[in-house]
């Protein structure tokens, strides 16, 4: 296959995708839907970053027990992202601070970014998809 053919169907082009999660886990369906889209996207071999800011940091809380509200507990799924080669998980320090949380409260290993680092990471993306 020539380079031209590869260009035609778009294969081989790797873009920087950011999935930006800003909602708490159970009050709306955004968190669960966002997670499912990220898992699907993993099949396309793109450069994927998953970012948690604002109430989105609550998605990663340890010790979630949803039995009492009878909804699916998808928090363990964040641990499976590594198996799909989604290893770039970033959390906003400012958002953690505003909620009295630290990295130790989170269910997965993440990179905590300062305000400036988060701003730069967002600015360098080709595509940002927000949930």
């Amino acid at each position: 296959m020539s380079d031209m053919d590869e260009m035609d169907d778009g294969s081989g082009i790797v873009k920087k995708f950011m999935f930006l999660n800003r909602k708490a886990p159970h009050g709306t369906v955004y968190a669960l839907e966002g997670l499912e889209v990220v898992l699907i996207t993993a099949a396309f071999d793109q450069d994927v970053s998953m970012v948690f800011t604002d109430d989105g940091v609550y998605q990663l809380m340890k010790g979630i027990d949803t039995k009492g509200i009878e909804v699916k507990d998808f928090s363990k799924t964040y641990r499976a992202l590594e198996g799909y080669d989604i290893e770039k998980l970033y959390v906003d320090q400012v958002s953690l601070d505003a909620r009295g949380l630290t990295e130790d409260d989170l269910i997965v290993d993440v990179t905590v970014l300062s305000n400036d680092e988060m701003a730069n990471l967002m600015a360098e993306q080709d595509v940002v998809i927000s949930f």
Binding site: P25, K67, I69, R99, G100
Partner: protein, 99 residues
């Protein structure tokens, strides 16, 4: 009056409006994403604690547990289960949901 709030205080203004307009002796029940406001270190925690002087503040236990927040509830906040939710509605002559 029983005030019921279900939105996160770090995303919406419903809790702030509720606390501003609830009269002395009223009850405020936090459910769903509103329960985060009643946890240690949350940006809204100081407002909840200040309001607790004049209002009775409740939070729904199953919603706290579903968010990993059961062990982080502020002092002065009363955790209730679904039966307690029903009791609060029955005890008050009227209620307002801050959607």
């Amino acid at each position: 009056m029983l005030h019921i709030v279900n939105k996160s205080a770090t995303e919406r203004s419903s809790l702030e409006s509720c606390l501003r307009l609830a009269t002395k002796g009223s009850a405020v029940l936090l459910i769903e994403d509103a329960v985060y406001a009643a946890t240690n270190g949350n940006a809204a925690a100081a407002k909840i604690q200040a309001a607790a002087a004049d209002l009775k503040i409740y939070a729904l236990g199953p919603d706290l547990a579903a968010r990993g927040m059961a062990g982080r509830v502020l002092g002065g906040v009363n955790v209730v289960d679904y039966g307690g939710f029903v009791d609060l509605v029955a005890e008050h002559s009227n209620c307002q949901s801050w959607l």
